[in-house]
Structure formats: C-alpha cells, structure tokens
Symmetry: C2
Subunit: 456 residues, 2 copies
Amino acid sequence: MVATTEFATIKKDVLDKISPNTQEKNKLQNTAELLKNNVEKTAHNMKLNGVTAKLVGSAARNTWISGTHDLDIFIMFPLTTTREELKQWGLGIAKKIAENSEYFEERYAEHPYINMKYNGFDVDIVPCFKVQSASDIRSAVDRTPFHNEYIKTNIKGLENEVLVLKQFMKGIKVYGSELKNMGFSGYLTELLVIHYGSFENIIKSACKWEPGKYIDIKSHGNVIHEEPLIVIDPTDPKRNVAAALSLDKFCIFISKCRQFIEKPDLDFFFPQFINSVIDIKKTKEYLISRKTVFLAIVFEKPDLVDDILYPQLYKMQHSVNLLLKNYDFEVINSKCWSGKETGLLLELISDNLPVLKKHHGPPVWVCDHAEDFRKKYENMPDTFSFYIENGIYIAEIPRQYSNVYNLIKEKITTCALGKNISISVKKGFRLYKNMDIFNIYDSDLTDLLKVWPDKL
Amino acid sequence: MVATTEFATIKKDVLDKISPNTQEKNKLQNTAELLKNNVEKTAHNMKLNGVTAKLVGSAARNTWISGTHDLDIFIMFPLTTTREELKQWGLGIAKKIAENSEYFEERYAEHPYINMKYNGFDVDIVPCFKVQSASDIRSAVDRTPFHNEYIKTNIKGLENEVLVLKQFMKGIKVYGSELKNMGFSGYLTELLVIHYGSFENIIKSACKWEPGKYIDIKSHGNVIHEEPLIVIDPTDPKRNVAAALSLDKFCIFISKCRQFIEKPDLDFFFPQFINSVIDIKKTKEYLISRKTVFLAIVFEKPDLVDDILYPQLYKMQHSVNLLLKNYDFEVINSKCWSGKETGLLLELISDNLPVLKKHHGPPVWVCDHAEDFRKKYENMPDTFSFYIENGIYIAEIPRQYSNVYNLIKEKITTCALGKNISISVKKGFRLYKNMDIFNIYDSDLTDLLKVWPDKL
C-alpha cells in the first residue's frame, strides 16, 4: 500500500502542471462575464423580458484543467416561452453574439445551439428553460443549471481533487462521456469527489468496485438501474449520472486504480504516447506475424455528429460480428473508426471454411423428429453425406458461405447497421483484405493498428 | 405400414437365397459328427476319462446361413481337471485332430484354442470345463454350451426367423459382435427372435426402441446395465448379451427398421456394393471439393488379433481427436483402419491457426484472481497484447501449436493410444497430408474414402 506522502507528492506534481494560473483564470472570468452581459443586453434590445445568462460547466465551478478553454453559456428563458419561441429567440441572440466570433456553427442536441471560437475559447451558447426544479425540466439541457448549483454549493475546497481525478482519467483514457468514448463525465467526477472526499479515497475504493456499484449521495434514488456504475443524480432521484459509462471503461478505471496504488507514477496522468514513434513497416510486420486474417469494410461517412454516428458504428460492429459468427467465421477482434475514412476493421481466424457443414439432427430414437429429419436430408440432391454419429443423425449440407468476403458482400445490408450507416452501406462499400488495409490512408486507422488489438 | 403379405413375400425370397439345402446340411452334419468322434477317440487314446465333444454355435442350432461354413467343437473336460491340464490336454487333442486339416493355427482367447480349415469348413476346437450351471463357469467359453442348450430348446420352429434377421443385419452392416464391429451377435439375434416371436415383430418393435431398451426373457436380471440395449442372458442373470453393441450400430438398426417398414425391399438384405465401381479419380476430386484438410497417421501394425487391435485403434482415435480439440483444431470426421497399412485418418477444418490465442482471465472485479492474472500476463515478454473485453482480462498469448502437423509430431505419444499401438507409434509413424493419402496403397483405406465420411 502506498504511503500518504507519496500520494501527496504526486498530487502536487500533477496540480503544478494542470492548475490554471491567475492570468488564465482572469482571462476566462472576463470572457465569460463579457459574453453573459452581451447575451442579456441583446435580449433586452430584442425586447425579451426575464431572459438571463448563466455560466455553467467546469468553468463555473473552478474544476477546469489548464489549457481546456471551454465556456458553456446558457440563455435562460422564462417558462412562459414556447418551444418554438425558445428555438427562434435563443438562436437569434446566440447568432448576434457570434457575429463577433472568429468562427461559429449551428449544432444540434435536443434543440439547436451555437458553438463558436471566441477569444481563444470554445464557446457553446445554449438556450434553455428556467424551470423551478430539476423534476420539471422540459428538455435535457434544462438540467444543467441545477447540476451547476449543486456542485458549486458542495465542491468548495475540493476543486483540486476534481482536477487530479480528471487528469488521471484522461491519462488512462476513460474520461469523456460522449457516446464515442462512453467514459466518465465531468459532473460524474465531481460527484465522486463529493461522495468520497478526496482523490485518494476514490482510488482506494474503486479497487474493490464491482458492477452494480451504487452511490446515492442524497439517499433518494427510486428507480432500479442495470448499468455497471450507478451514481444517483442529487438533482433527480430517477437518473443515473453514470448511465453512459461502459463496462470496459468502468473496468479499466478499476484496474488502473489498483496499478496506481501498487506503483504510483506520474505516467498514469501523463502517459507517453509511443504510438507516434512506432513505424508503419514494423506495424505491418507485426500484424502479418499474427497469422490471422484482416478485413476492413469502408463506406462513406454519414454526415452526423459523433454522438449520433458512434452508436450506429458500435451497432454495426455488433451486428457484423454476429453475422460472421452465425456463419461460423470466428472474429477474434474488431474495431470501428471514423477519421478521413469510416469503417469497421475485423480480425478473423480464417477467411475460408469447408464447402460443407455438419448439420446435427435429432437423436435417432426421438421417433417423429428423427424421421422428419431423415426424410428431409437423406436423399436431398445437395446433401454431401448422411450418417449417424453418437446416436444422432448428421447431414453434411452445403455451407451457404465458405468465403467471408462473399458473405459480407451479400449479407451486410441485412444486418442492423443503424439508420444512416445502413443508407451509406447500401450506396456501396469497399472491402480491404489483409495488408491491403494499409492502402486506406487514414491516420486514425493507423493509430488503431499501431496498438492492435488494444492495450490496457 | 407394410402389408403382411409383402413381408411374407420378402422373407420367402430371402430364405430362398440363404437357407442351406439338404446336401449342404448333410455335409455339415457329417463333418461335425466326424470331428466330435475324433475328439472323443483321441481323448480316449490319451487315457483321459470323462472328456466329451460337443457341437455348439449356429451349426448346432440350425441358425446358420448357406455359405457360412463355421463349426465350433468344444472339448469338455471334467471339473477335476486343472487349468494347466485343460490347456495342455485340450491343445494336445485339438492338434492331433488338426493333423488331418488343410491348415491350422493356435489362437488365443482366455485360453488357447485351435482354428483350422477342414473339409471346406472353418473349425474352432475349443477346450472348456464341463460346469454344472452357467453361474459356475471358470472361463468365458464355459458359458457357450449353456447358450447352446437354451437356444436349441427354445428356437424350434423359429430358425428361419433367425436366418432372415441375421441376413437383414448383415445387409445393413450391424451384424457381428467382434470388437471391430460392435454389432449384434448370433446369440443376440436368436434371443430377439425368441422374445419377439418373429422377424416382423422385431422390425416393428425396434422402430420405437430407445437407448436403455431392456429385454429380460426370464425376468431374472439382477444388475444395472448402462448400455444402449440390454438383453439379459437367460443363462446368467448378471450378464447383458448386448453389452458389446455400440450406440451407433443400435441406432443404425432402428433407423433401417423404420426405412424397411416404409418401403420393404430385398436391397436391405443384399445391398448393391457400389464402392467397387466408384473410381479413385472421382473419389479424389470429391475429397478435394470438400475444401477440408485430410491427415493420415500411419504406423506399423502391432501383431494382434482384431479383438485386441481394434479397441486400441478406437482408443487412439478418441485420444487424438481430444488432443486436436484441446489445441483448437476442429476435427470434423475421423476413422481408423487396418489393412495392408494401419492408421488413423482425420478430416479437419484447417491445419493452421493464428500464432496467438486469446486467453480469457477472470472478470476485473474478482479482485485477487484478477490481480494474479494481470501480474502474470501483462508484462510477460511473449504476451502479444493485454486488454479488457466485456469486463474480462484478455491476454493474447502465443499458441503452442499453430500447425497441426507439429502438434501431432510432438504430442501424439502423450495420448492414450493403447499399450501395443503406443509401442508401435513410438517406433515411428508417417504423416500424409491431403491428397497424399492416396499414396498409402491400401484397398481398405480406399474403401473408406470411397464413401467418406460415412453412408447410412
């Protein structure tokens, strides 16, 4: 077990690297104030009454890491506003603000919002309803101001613990609750700190976590959850804040906590990315040496944000794995990716199987079923052979697909691929076999291959 | 359901072909009498008192098929004889008789006996003890005279039913209880006829047989048996006459009875052997078209009778299948054979596998086991990769054998091969891959390949 002083030293070293300095803090504070004032002034000029602006997220709670320049400004409309008005007026205000930005675009969650680059910051300007309590929300974003209030009230004095925990999670690649990552969200890390009181306590406790781990700070949870980690939202007794966390990210966190306790090291927080120094030639040699079969399915990327695209990619990965398994092709690893190109990469034991397969019938003594089976297969023209083995009728019948490429070509569109990927795949796709995958020039794919199939 | 007249017609046709005629019967009768007299005279000349000769087996019960010229002459010694005397005197008498034979040899069951070719007959002369009841037997052969008496007393009038049943079983290849075949014995067919009363009744009943089918004519069975068919010996309540019958021969009989009832045909009794007309070129083309991998292991045949050799071959087949399965090579069919050459033929999905395999560890949250696993594999120099998948630690470790030939070369002698085959294989063996198996010039193997993997 690691000594307390060793923990303290490492925490100090981490904080030295990631705490924003006064200048950085002031710049963020001033920019946020300016934007809030601009929002309220613009609303006033548009003759909208009761509209206020609020800074939410880590910037508002002093739990942001130096160098991450994200600002979330919420435009809060009174409840008398209709959904249509909120959309129209909210975008109107946001676009007015964005006129002074370096770049901006409209984005979509449940409602449209504006994302812009402004004074070196990545700013989201999000319209929402100013509801009385978190149980009255009209849209998912309405919840955020409540989270903000809860954390601001309870995190005081523990901000550095959040910073250290976030950096640890970034280092071990479990931070970020976007649907691409399915890791820990910022709000979740803050709640863990409030619950456990310190970074050390979280690390020590997580070593013994099991799926179904249940944390309910306000002891008000009133719904059964099935996810690996359940952290009940202090502002909503029905909601699991960790609902998006995948089993594997949960387990990686547990595993890394144990390793950190065993041998604390700054590397957990700031891993050395060896990826970039592994050259492609070595990667290729290594992949060939595995004596497996590689297969990439590449298709046109649907025009979607990652939070819509990745669930479809994961769905495709799952369905294609299942398809291959159903036709006896053993997939040992698979990954989807989306960079310059978008696709699914599969690693198989083999791309070819015998042209026949043994179809096991009922035991001979199960009279009616056995007779049905015998009559169906014994003299079927394409039955290779018909015999009894261990008391069971066996018909050797033609295998529908003895080659995996034909299987994919003919059957992939029958898989559950997700709406947009399905459309894209139906338009066409390319198949790459074995080391031809290196002809797909995409550094995101190359990064996957450099640590294939994965590295803890 | 088949009409009674149709059954009767077929039975008549079969009997016309297989019933011995008067001349054949007389010749058998005369030869048997001559040999019995010679045995008793020779014993008398050797001053052995109380030694009698007895004709047993199908020849004695009128249940033999025309053309099968087997005679079993038992030399019955009084109980005052010792084992050593029985062996010495028995062989002495038998060899004296054999002096007039065309050819003879000493064979071994529990005791030695003489087999000879005599006047066109295949004669066994077997010494045994003349015990009072079947429960007092000193050696397995002592039981035979009791079987003989039981059948002779009970089969009267049913001999033709036995002939038809035996021919049916020969035609569908389930007749013969030698350990190579593991089918129905002559005595077993006779007991079935006594129990069911007719060939028709057996066929009809067998359609509904299930493993564990229990027949006890004298209702005196007193032991639990696990075999697929249990027919309690009327002369020994502990013994299952069908103990040597394999599950597959039992099931083939059931299946063929159903097919016969559905469409009675003389072909069941006298199948047309199409084997000999399939040419080797076509066989080879067919085997190649299966896109599987063939592999023959050929070794020097141990000098053993079939009843000792075949159990060892089957044991080898089972062990080698298990060895390959344990190393992830999927065997889809296998057969052993012994003709000019002796060996095991295997058909596989593939002869090569990736050089690595996924070794599944415990779930990450099973704390102590998970840590042991991680510490053992994560940094092992030959671990390909270490990661978490579905909450479980995965270590990609080198596969010990990625090539099946190396596996067999290095590991076959660790298999349970049976005493004599083990010695033979340790001396050396040859491996034949794919169509090289046709370089093993052995018509027994070719016959196997012509109907590969099997035909009901």
